[in-house]
């Protein structure tokens, strides 16, 4: 095996400084232009809750929310997110309190290996903000860009329904109060 250190000389990669708001915090770094958003989150920022499953935008394990909209961070450059707000699974809980979607996934056994779960929960949270009381069909459509190999989706649907109900009953309680 040839172990000598490589001499200097290849094409230098273009770099640029980006600044994003990630889970409410301003994060800035100088990065290669070609750095994928998922690698910026995982490697540059150390937020490893976002996963890579397929490299081709097919499975949704890398889903994050960009300005609130679910996107697949494996098929987007970090520089494209410059100046924008990103939410990852690490930003789902607020003030030490789990998001109802997180609670729902546990209550209804909506996860097994946990690899698709961050993406699934982010898509579900986005759905519930838009549509607080979705039908099963609407939930299935919303999560259809995210593949789960373990659960067969039925308990994920129930988890989202659980979260919808919890959110509504909390809101009702607040209104009464």
């Amino acid at each position: 095996m040839n172990e000598q250190a490589a001499p200097v000389g290849g094409e230098p990669q273009m770099r640029r400084r980006v600044e994003l708001v990630v889970n409410g915090q301003r994060r800035s770094a100088e990065i290669e232009n070609r750095l994928l958003l998922v690698h910026f989150l995982r490697e540059t920022l150390g937020l490893t809750g976002t996963h890579v499953g397929c490299d081709t935008t097919s499975c949704g394990a890398c889903t994050v929310r960009l300005q609130g909209t679910p996107v697949k961070s494996c098929t987007m450059f970090a520089v494209q997110a410059d100046g924008l707000a990103v939410t990852t699974v690490e930003g789902l809980a607020q003030g030490g309190k789990l998001n109802p979607v997180q609670e729902g996934f546990k209550e209804e056994h909506g996860l097994q290996c946990g690899f698709c779960t961050p993406g699934m929960m982010l898509v579900s949270a986005a759905l519930l903000e838009e549509n607080p009381n979705p039908t099963e069909e609407e939930i299935r459509f919303a999560i259809s860009g995210n593949i789960c190999r373990c659960t067969g989706y039925q308990n994920i649907v129930k988890a989202v329904q659980w979260a919808a109900q919890k959110t509504q009953s909390e809101q009702a309680a607040t209104t009464v109060a």
């Binding site: 097994q112 290996c113 459509f141």
Partner: protein, 787 residues
């Protein structure tokens, strides 16, 4: 009003919420790609574009010039270290990096190790390999034909592509049965190549400490202990210096059972460079090079009396193994447990003939969520039984009922030598038929057929029996290592416990289920029992998790070791209570003096005393280890009914209903069991309807990414209605049978039977999986139906 807490008397059958969820829900899992070590380098693999070619030269000079590249490794480098080839789990050999030839598309040819993963990939493109293409073999029929190119010419004296010929059952008795038959029904089919495709690909971080010689390999392993032993054998490194740590796994389904070249090269590179090396497979690498599943060609016949009684079964199976025989399967069984093909039926005579052949395709043949080829066997018999029913003019449910092994026949020795532990097949089928409304569906079907408006309704049944939980060690071994499993249990002074296991969860919820087994035996609640797996330095030796064996083996070991601890605890309790041990009684979590229920001590009291206040002469501590060698396999079973609607004009089919009755013996955590079943029903739908790894005539893999290799999404996946019967395993300490794979084994036949049932009036008797709409449309059109 006082709240009376219900007294817990058992932890079996309780849907305890999963302990492992909290970290996954917060993005705090620890998967292989999350592991980052100081000074870590990154490895990328260059793969062959050809399915079969001679390597004339490899030029790595330009790749080495890329800043940040630390090393480029080729097969020639590995030859010097005797690492160019490695053994497979079936005792064959597989190239680590190709030296003489490439024998499949996607074969590992060279690796770049660099300061970051982008640089490693940049350099891959600069490696210049000169190939001389060779004739390609893409199926086993070609492989065994006269004059076929010999794929494994690296093996001395190898002059053909045959790997094995293996038979089971009694040929003479089977011939006699066929001679007496009124009817012989035959079927032929290909169970196509598919892929387990866990959402997380494979990978490792190899960390060799140059000072101490310690080799720590974090890797995606379903069988870390077995892998440690194989690493020791392959590399010659002393086994005590090798530590395999299998972290959280993003699914496995059999894909993470074999050892892959990437693990070996990364470890060798770390050894030679003296820095940690990380390799994370990409999805294409995963699909084209790692353990595929199935690829069995099956032909067979069923001999029947006119009244429907089955007399004999004959099956010929030809297996496409790819360029290496690399199934992880018991060494005595060349085609895995395929010979369980008599299924749920009392068939007095059977003869199974199996052959395996090399082709220019990826090695594997791993069980994709099934116990050593049981899926193929179950699919075959369930498809054949349906065809036999049509030919005899019987309802498929009726023919099954006529031939089921009866409850009083257990333990039942099958014609191929399996000893079924327990079962009540008719009860499961009856429940499934009742829940689906079978009679009404048949009426609806008859009405639709009469109307003839192009709406087809199909009802498919499958009454499967699985065989899982290998050992017993006397019969089952992998590379000579007997298939037992183990549990080590330690109760701390404060009454909390740690349970260490030789098996390894990939999402099955072991941290909860196995804690419940301890809870059930000792009364320590699940939240107080930490379950540790996957670290070979810190868990007892075991063969790992696949073939639905964790609960049958590791779960049994857990129950037994906990009972052993309870025996010691009883003697300590006697000491504390100043009573004779024989006078003590046990209620969950507490010993008390017989006749004086108030005079007692809790398990927590006893645990504290085990470190502070012992009887004279007793060793301190409350811990033990048990290696469990099961006396027999377990035989989970069930009946599934699938209802489909087909549009005759387009061939499109949609699942209307799935009713699944599963009997896996005693259920420890019903929520987790149902999760396993629903996952299996979904993967079964994938195989039946869309999952396919196929090849063109040049050996190019079609199905090398998730745009071509289709997996069920939430849109295709139907709602499942689950029901249960409970027939405990008589030999398992808590009556469990294992369930992880039942639904993948049982359901493909139910889906396909449903489609074929709809098409039966048109004399369409088979469509090979995946049963896509275009195939259905073609089949209908060939019979003059539809557009």
């Amino acid at each position: 009003m006082a709240v009376v807490e219900e007294k817990v008397t058992t932890w079996l059958g309780r849907s305890v919420k999963r302990k492992e969820d909290d970290r996954f829900l917060q993005g705090r899992g620890n998967y292989i790609e999350d592991i980052k070590l100081p000074g870590m380098l990154y490895m990328a693999i260059l793969r062959s574009p050809y399915a079969h070619a001679r390597i004339l030269s490899i030029d790595t000079a330009a790749a080495m010039q890329v800043p940040g590249v630390v090393a480029v490794v080729t097969g020639a480098d590995l030859v010097a270290h005797k690492l160019a080839w490695m053994p497979t789990l079936s005792g064959d050999t597989q190239a680590v990096l190709a030296t003489d030839k490439v024998r499949m598309q996607g074969q590992e040819v060279a690796c770049v190790i660099a300061e970051d993963v982008y640089t490693a990939h940049d350099a891959l493109g600069l490696i210049d390999v000169d190939y001389e293409p060779l004739p390609v073999v893409t199926n086993p029929q070609q492989a065994l034909a006269e004059g076929a190119p010999v794929i494994r010419d690296d093996k001395e004296g190898k002059t053909d592509n045959r790997i094995y010929h293996w038979e089971a059952g009694d040929q003479g008795a089977t011939e006699r049965a066929f001679a007496q038959a009124d009817r012989v029904v035959s079927i032929g089919m290909h169970y196509p190549r598919c892929h387990p495709s866990p959402l997380e690909c494979c990978g490792c971080v190899a960390d060799v400490n140059p000072a101490s010689g310690k080799v720590t390999i974090y890797m995606t392993s379903q069988a870390p202990h077995a892998h440690r032993t194989v690493f020791a054998l392959v590399t010659g490194l002393p086994e005590q210096n090798i530590q395999i740590i299998s972290p959280d796994l993003g699914g496995g389904f059999g894909n993470k059972v074999p050892i892959y070249p990437g693990y070996v090269v990364a470890t060798a590179a770390s050894l030679l460079i003296g820095r940690p090396v990380k390799w994370i497979e990409d999805r294409t690498g995963n699909l084209i090079s790692t353990g595929f599943a199935r690829d069995f060609y099956m032909d067979g016949e069923l001999a029947l009396r006119q009244d429907g009684k089955m007399l004999g079964l004959r099956v010929n199976m030809l297996s496409d193994q790819g360029y290496a025989y690399a199934d992880a399967q018991p060494s005595k069984f060349k085609a895995g447990l395929f010979h369980v093909v008599t299924g749920s039926y009392d068939i007095p005579a059977a003869h199974v003939v199996t052959d395996g052949a090399y082709t220019n395709k990826a090695p594997g043949g791993v069980a994709y969520r099934c116990s050593f080829r049981v899926t193929e066997a179950s699919f075959f018999i369930e498809r054949l039984v349906q065809k036999a029913a049509y030919e005899l003019g019987l309802d498929p449910a009726e023919l099954r009922r006529l031939n089921f092994i009866q409850p009083e026949q257990f333990p039942y020795t099958s014609a191929t030598g399996f000893v079924y532990d327990s079962g009540d097949y008719e009860r499961a089928l009856d429940l499934a038929l009742e829940k689906v409304g079978y009679r009404e569906l048949r009426q609806e079907q008859a009405k639709l057929r009469q109307e003839g408006k192009g709406k087809l309704l199909g009802i498919g049944l499958a009454s499967f029996t699985e065989v899982v939980g290998a050992g017993p060690g006397r019969q089952f071994d992998i590379l000579g290592i007997r298939m037992f499993d183990s549990a080590e249990l330690r109760v701390h002074p404060t009454g909390k416990a740690i349970l260490k296991l030789g098996v390894k969860s990939q999402g099955q919820g072991h941290e909860t289920t196995f804690a419940q087994i301890v809870s059930n035996e000792l009364g320590i609640p699940p939240q107080d029992v930490m379950v540790q797996e996957g670290d070979t330095d810190n868990t007892p030796y075991g063969l790992g998790t696949y073939a639905s064996r964790s609960t049958p083996t590791g779960g049994a070991a857990t129950a037994v070791v906990a009972r052993e601890l309870r025996e010691k605890a009883k003697r300590i309790a006697a000491h504390l209570l100043e009573a004779a041990a024989e006078d003590l009684e046990w209620e969950l979590g507490r010993f008390f003096v017989r006749g004086t229920p108030d005079r007692g001590v809790t398990i927590q009291d006893v645990a504290f005393a085990a470190y502070t206040n012992l009887p004279e002469g007793m060793q301190a501590g409350l811990e033990g280890v048990h290696y469990y060698d099961p006396p027999n396999m377990t035989y989970p079973f069930g009946s599934y009914v699938v209802v489909v609607d087909i549009d005759a004009g387009t061939g499109q089919w949609k699942v209307r209903r799935v009713v699944a009755v599963d009997d896996c013996g005693v259920r420890i955590n019903p929520m987790i069991v149902e999760g396993q079943i629903m996952g299996g029903l979904t993967e079964g739908l994938g195989m039946a309807a869309m999952e396919l790894i196929t090849f063109d005539e040049e050996g190019n893999c079609i199905g090398s990414n998730f745009m071509d290799y289709l997996l069920p999404t939430s849109m295709e996946t139907p709602h499942f209605d689950l029901f249960e019967t409970v027939t405990p395993s008589p030999h398992h300490p808590i009556g469990c049978k294992g369930v992880g794979e039942s639904a993948t084994v049982g359901s493909p036949a139910a889906y396909v039977n449903a489609v074929i049932d709809a098409l039966a009036p048109y004399e369409i008797t088979n469509i090979d999986m995946p049963v896509t709409s275009d195939k259905v449309w073609e089949a209908l059109r060939s019979k003059g139906v539809g557009a």
